[in-house]
Amino acid sequence: MSDSQGGDKAWQTAVEWIIRKQASPLDAASENELLTWLEEDPANRAAYEEASHLWLLTGLVPRTDEPESGD
Protein backbone atom coordinates (compact mmCIF):
# COMPACT_ATOMS: atom_id res chain seq x y z
CA MET A 1 0.00 0.00 0.00
CA SER A 2 2.44 2.60 1.14
CA ASP A 3 5.03 3.88 -1.23
CA SER A 4 8.51 2.86 -0.39
CA GLN A 5 9.70 5.00 2.50
CA GLY A 6 11.97 2.33 3.83
CA GLY A 7 15.15 4.29 3.24
CA ASP A 8 13.98 7.24 5.29
CA LYS A 9 15.03 6.27 8.75
CA ALA A 10 14.46 9.73 10.23
CA TRP A 11 10.83 9.63 9.09
CA GLN A 12 10.25 6.14 10.45
CA THR A 13 11.76 7.12 13.78
CA ALA A 14 9.73 10.32 13.90
CA VAL A 15 6.53 8.34 13.32
CA GLU A 16 7.54 5.91 16.04
CA TRP A 17 7.91 8.80 18.49
CA ILE A 18 4.53 10.21 17.51
CA ILE A 19 2.95 6.81 18.08
CA ARG A 20 4.66 6.46 21.44
CA LYS A 21 3.46 9.86 22.53
CA GLN A 22 -0.06 8.97 21.50
CA ALA A 23 0.09 5.81 23.59
CA SER A 24 1.09 7.57 26.79
CA PRO A 25 2.88 10.70 27.94
CA LEU A 26 6.61 10.27 27.73
CA ASP A 27 8.50 9.75 30.94
CA ALA A 28 11.55 11.89 31.66
CA ALA A 29 14.01 9.37 30.24
CA SER A 30 12.05 9.05 27.01
CA GLU A 31 11.72 12.81 26.74
CA ASN A 32 15.46 13.14 26.98
CA GLU A 33 15.91 10.43 24.42
CA LEU A 34 13.58 12.27 22.05
CA LEU A 35 15.35 15.57 22.65
CA THR A 36 18.72 14.02 22.00
CA TRP A 37 17.45 12.51 18.80
CA LEU A 38 15.93 15.82 17.67
CA GLU A 39 19.18 17.64 18.28
CA GLU A 40 21.33 15.02 16.59
CA ASP A 41 20.43 16.01 13.08
CA PRO A 42 18.31 18.75 11.49
CA ALA A 43 16.82 16.01 9.32
CA ASN A 44 15.44 14.40 12.47
CA ARG A 45 13.76 17.62 13.52
CA ALA A 46 12.38 18.16 10.02
CA ALA A 47 10.99 14.64 9.95
CA TYR A 48 9.47 15.09 13.40
CA GLU A 49 7.80 18.34 12.39
CA GLU A 50 6.49 16.77 9.22
CA ALA A 51 5.10 13.83 11.17
CA SER A 52 3.53 16.14 13.77
CA HIS A 53 1.86 18.19 11.07
CA LEU A 54 0.55 15.06 9.40
CA TRP A 55 -0.64 13.78 12.75
CA LEU A 56 -2.61 16.97 13.28
CA LEU A 57 -4.14 16.76 9.81
CA THR A 58 -5.23 13.15 10.27
CA GLY A 59 -7.09 14.19 13.41
CA LEU A 60 -9.13 16.61 11.31
CA VAL A 61 -10.39 13.99 8.90
CA PRO A 62 -13.82 12.66 9.89
CA ARG A 63 -14.00 9.02 10.82
CA THR A 64 -15.47 6.55 8.38
CA ASP A 65 -17.53 4.42 10.75
CA GLU A 66 -20.55 5.56 12.69
CA PRO A 67 -19.34 8.33 14.94
CA GLU A 68 -20.06 8.32 18.63
CA SER A 69 -22.44 11.08 19.47
CA GLY A 70 -20.79 14.07 21.07
CA ASP A 71 -21.10 14.09 24.83
Binding site: S2, A28, E31, H53, G70
Partner: protein, 170 residues
Protein backbone atom coordinates in the same frame (compact mmCIF):
# COMPACT_ATOMS: atom_id res chain seq x y z
CA UNK B 1 -20.38 19.19 -7.43
CA UNK B 2 -20.65 19.40 -3.68
CA UNK B 3 -22.81 16.80 -1.98
CA UNK B 4 -25.73 18.09 0.02
CA UNK B 5 -24.04 17.46 3.34
CA UNK B 6 -21.34 19.98 2.61
CA UNK B 7 -23.73 22.86 2.44
CA UNK B 8 -24.19 22.64 6.20
CA UNK B 9 -22.80 25.70 7.93
CA UNK B 10 -20.26 24.17 10.24
CA UNK B 11 -19.20 27.41 11.88
CA UNK B 12 -22.80 28.10 12.88
CA UNK B 13 -23.08 24.67 14.47
CA UNK B 14 -19.80 25.36 16.21
CA UNK B 15 -20.99 28.64 17.64
CA UNK B 16 -24.27 27.21 18.87
CA UNK B 17 -22.44 24.35 20.62
CA UNK B 18 -19.45 26.31 21.79
CA UNK B 19 -20.16 25.87 25.51
CA UNK B 20 -20.46 22.10 25.23
CA UNK B 21 -17.38 21.87 23.03
CA UNK B 22 -15.45 23.91 25.54
CA UNK B 23 -16.60 21.59 28.29
CA UNK B 24 -15.34 18.60 26.30
CA UNK B 25 -11.93 20.28 26.00
CA UNK B 26 -11.94 21.21 29.67
CA UNK B 27 -12.63 17.61 30.65
CA UNK B 28 -9.42 16.58 28.90
CA UNK B 29 -7.24 19.52 29.83
CA UNK B 30 -8.51 20.39 33.30
CA UNK B 31 -7.52 23.98 32.68
CA UNK B 32 -10.01 26.56 31.48
CA UNK B 33 -7.47 28.83 29.78
CA UNK B 34 -6.09 25.96 27.74
CA UNK B 35 -9.59 24.70 27.01
CA UNK B 36 -10.54 28.12 25.71
CA UNK B 37 -7.39 28.17 23.62
CA UNK B 38 -8.22 24.82 22.08
CA UNK B 39 -11.76 25.87 21.28
CA UNK B 40 -10.47 29.00 19.55
CA UNK B 41 -7.95 26.95 17.66
CA UNK B 42 -10.60 24.42 16.63
CA UNK B 43 -12.86 27.21 15.44
CA UNK B 44 -10.09 28.68 13.29
CA UNK B 45 -9.27 25.33 11.76
CA UNK B 46 -12.88 24.58 11.07
CA UNK B 47 -13.52 27.91 9.39
CA UNK B 48 -10.28 27.63 7.42
CA UNK B 49 -11.19 24.24 6.08
CA UNK B 50 -14.95 24.55 5.83
CA UNK B 51 -16.32 22.80 2.75
CA UNK B 52 -13.24 20.63 2.19
CA UNK B 53 -14.68 17.57 3.87
CA UNK B 54 -17.86 15.69 3.27
CA UNK B 55 -19.38 15.67 6.73
CA UNK B 56 -22.32 13.43 7.43
CA UNK B 57 -22.23 14.07 11.16
CA UNK B 58 -21.12 17.67 11.56
CA UNK B 59 -21.60 17.92 15.31
CA UNK B 60 -19.82 14.64 16.01
CA UNK B 61 -17.05 15.92 13.78
CA UNK B 62 -16.74 19.12 15.81
CA UNK B 63 -16.37 17.07 18.98
CA UNK B 64 -13.77 14.93 17.26
CA UNK B 65 -11.72 17.98 16.29
CA UNK B 66 -11.96 19.62 19.71
CA UNK B 67 -11.13 16.41 21.58
CA UNK B 68 -8.21 15.65 19.32
CA UNK B 69 -6.75 19.11 19.60
CA UNK B 70 -7.24 18.99 23.37
CA UNK B 71 -5.51 15.63 23.67
CA UNK B 72 -2.64 16.79 21.49
CA UNK B 73 -2.33 19.95 23.54
CA UNK B 74 -2.42 17.99 26.75
CA UNK B 75 0.33 15.64 25.64
CA UNK B 76 2.47 18.43 24.32
CA UNK B 77 2.10 20.39 27.52
CA UNK B 78 3.47 17.39 29.38
CA UNK B 79 6.36 17.17 26.96
CA UNK B 80 7.14 20.87 27.07
CA UNK B 81 7.11 20.67 30.81
CA UNK B 82 10.38 18.85 30.44
CA UNK B 83 11.70 21.31 27.89
CA UNK B 84 11.16 24.68 29.46
CA UNK B 85 10.97 26.33 32.81
CA UNK B 86 7.47 26.08 34.21
CA UNK B 87 5.40 28.87 32.75
CA UNK B 88 3.95 31.54 34.95
CA UNK B 89 0.23 31.86 34.48
CA UNK B 90 -0.40 34.41 31.78
CA UNK B 91 3.15 34.44 30.49
CA UNK B 92 2.64 31.82 27.85
CA UNK B 93 3.80 32.72 24.42
CA UNK B 94 0.64 32.95 22.37
CA UNK B 95 0.33 30.40 19.63
CA UNK B 96 3.51 28.50 20.44
CA UNK B 97 5.10 29.27 17.08
CA UNK B 98 6.37 26.17 15.37
CA UNK B 99 4.12 23.73 17.18
CA UNK B 100 1.52 21.84 15.19
CA UNK B 101 -1.40 23.88 16.44
CA UNK B 102 0.29 27.07 15.33
CA UNK B 103 0.66 25.72 11.84
CA UNK B 104 -2.02 26.98 9.54
CA UNK B 105 -4.04 24.16 8.08
CA UNK B 106 -3.98 24.24 4.36
CA UNK B 107 -7.27 23.28 2.75
CA UNK B 108 -5.31 21.48 0.09
CA UNK B 109 -3.29 19.48 2.63
CA UNK B 110 -6.42 18.44 4.46
CA UNK B 111 -8.11 17.38 1.23
CA UNK B 112 -5.06 15.34 0.22
CA UNK B 113 -4.83 13.63 3.60
CA UNK B 114 -8.56 12.87 3.61
CA UNK B 115 -8.22 11.30 0.19
CA UNK B 116 -5.09 9.39 1.16
CA UNK B 117 -6.87 7.91 4.19
CA UNK B 118 -9.84 6.94 2.05
CA UNK B 119 -7.51 5.05 -0.26
CA UNK B 120 -6.20 2.82 2.51
CA UNK B 121 -7.29 -0.81 2.72
CA UNK B 122 -10.23 -1.04 5.09
CA UNK B 123 -8.31 -2.80 7.85
CA UNK B 124 -5.48 -0.28 7.73
CA UNK B 125 -7.91 2.59 7.95
CA UNK B 126 -9.75 0.95 10.83
CA UNK B 127 -6.54 0.40 12.77
CA UNK B 128 -5.47 3.95 12.14
CA UNK B 129 -8.77 5.41 13.32
CA UNK B 130 -8.80 3.30 16.45
CA UNK B 131 -5.33 4.57 17.21
CA UNK B 132 -5.59 8.16 16.05
CA UNK B 133 -9.16 9.09 16.84
CA UNK B 134 -10.04 6.75 19.69
CA UNK B 135 -6.62 6.58 21.30
CA UNK B 136 -6.78 2.83 21.69
CA UNK B 137 -3.61 0.99 22.59
CA UNK B 138 -1.89 -1.36 20.18
CA UNK B 139 -2.93 -4.24 22.43
CA UNK B 140 -6.59 -3.25 22.42
CA UNK B 141 -6.62 -2.82 18.65
CA UNK B 142 -4.80 -6.12 18.16
CA UNK B 143 -7.30 -8.07 20.23
CA UNK B 144 -10.29 -6.31 18.71
CA UNK B 145 -9.17 -7.14 15.17
CA UNK B 146 -7.46 -10.44 15.98
CA UNK B 147 -4.09 -9.38 14.64
CA UNK B 148 -0.69 -9.02 16.28
CA UNK B 149 0.45 -5.83 17.97
CA UNK B 150 3.40 -5.63 15.61
CA UNK B 151 1.01 -5.69 12.67
CA UNK B 152 -0.98 -2.90 14.32
CA UNK B 153 2.19 -0.85 14.43
CA UNK B 154 3.05 -1.63 10.83
CA UNK B 155 -0.41 -0.62 9.64
CA UNK B 156 -0.27 2.68 11.53
CA UNK B 157 3.07 3.37 9.86
CA UNK B 158 1.55 2.40 6.50
CA UNK B 159 -1.26 4.89 6.98
CA UNK B 160 1.06 7.75 7.83
CA UNK B 161 3.51 6.81 5.08
CA UNK B 162 0.72 6.89 2.58
CA UNK B 163 -0.51 10.29 3.77
CA UNK B 164 3.02 11.61 3.63
CA UNK B 165 3.48 10.38 0.08
CA UNK B 166 0.20 12.08 -0.87
CA UNK B 167 1.36 15.42 0.51
CA UNK B 168 4.74 15.10 -1.13
CA UNK B 169 3.24 14.30 -4.49
CA UNK B 170 1.52 17.65 -4.91
Amino acid sequence: MLPEEQSVDLSTIFVTHRTQLRRAALKILGDSARAEDVVQDAYLKITETEGVLNLKQPLAYLYQVVRNLAIDRHRRAAFEGGLFEPEEEGLQVPGHAGTPEATAISRQHLALVARALSELPERTRRVFELHRLDGHTHCAIASQLSISTSLVNILIHDALDHCRAALRSM
